[in-house]
């Protein structure tokens, strides 16, 4: 039910955005995310853009993983 698909906004008309999913185009509503712009990578769920994808977040995730790769506490294994 919570499945959401990432795509790229290629055009906007009013509250309606055309989203490109790697070659397949579909329309989605911007009612839940009106500030999305052409060129943004977005998450689309059931016909609505629900979030803009942060393209720099890969580095953040890597940093979070990095933190678990070192020590944990004094009783570390």
């Amino acid at each position: 039910m919570c499945l959401a698909i990432p795509g790229k906004i290629v055009s906007i008309q009013g509250q309606n955005a055309e989203i490109d999913y790697g070659g397949v185009s579909k329309h989605a509503s911007l009612r839940l995310f009106e500030n999305a712009a052409i060129g943004d990578y977005v998450l689309v769920h059931a016909g609505f853009v629900i979030q803009i994808l942060d393209q720099d977040a890969g580095d953040e995730l890597e940093k979070l993983i990095e933190e678990t790769m070192g020590f944990t506490n004094k009783n570390e294994i």
């Binding site: 039910m1 919570c2 995310f33 059931a46 016909g47 979030q51 393209q55 995730l61 790769m69």
Partner: protein, 353 residues
Amino acid sequence: MKYKIEDIKKRIAELAKDMGQITIMEVCGTHTASIHKYGIQELLPDNIRLVSGPGCPVCVTAQKDIAAALSIADREDVIFTCFGDMMRVPCGDDSLYSLYESGKDVRIVTSPMDALHIAQDHPDRQTVYFGIGFETTAPHTAALIEAADECGIQNLSILSAHKTMPQAIKKLLKGGSGIDALICPGHVASIIGAQAFSFVPDELMLPAAVAGFEAYDIMAALLCIVHMLRSGERKCVNMYPRAVTEYGNREALSLLYKVFEPCDAVWRGLGEIQGSGLGIKERYWEFDAAHRFDLPVKKIEEAKGCICARILSGKSRPTDCVNFGGACTPDRPLGACMVSSEGSCAAYYWYKK
């Protein structure tokens, strides 16, 4: 990425060594499906067990709500619309699919807005949309109601069985649940924000991580959780930063609470949970199917032997059920958890059987 899944797998095993049994729950049907599809359990050491909680919206929809849906869909003047995975949820001897087979006008939609277009195309009939799902999906239904109001549509109403996640998690994991940590639902968090799950460490004293839905995302979240269990930290860490912000999607939340307000709701498996449902506000009652139609209050018994209720609260596994894979299969489901591909039983059936 610097670290491969193999590195994460190895580090989880290192951290979990000698830690005793660890039970980690996820509460999102899409996580359930991904975990089984990618074989995540098999990548973990023997002492880490993953269990599914009440995260499949189809599964947790109460029998009384299904009965209400069926009574509306059975009417000659109604076009009943719903997501596809609601169609085969059994309710006594019937389901929405059996009504469709008997000639009733039941239609599958992929977005709530489809219901608006159907209502506009059929002004002489009543169109009803069955709203189920958590915070990810409920704002869409709010957008449907807002649009119907703006367009002055008279022949559209919504049967809302929408629910919100935090109260159910609190009820389930409050003291003595046997659950050691929580994987938080990534797309619910996209809407309500990662901070909305801070009650998990703060009130329930359990570590939590918000996770995405690829194998890498889930493994990274599990690593973060096992690291916290090992170090004694109790935090909710956002391990899905590309789609989840601290405070979520304020526009969606603002629309959601413009149209809906919290109400008590019955969950299959968990019973009634105070403030865990979304009822349509009085301002929009003209679009509330519960006000437009007489709904039944009859009690429908669950199928004999069905243990969906125990499975949804993480107390039993699908394979513990006598009906699993025999009397109950995805083609002929007896219980709700075998219907949707996100249900625990269906996921077990497709990937473990």
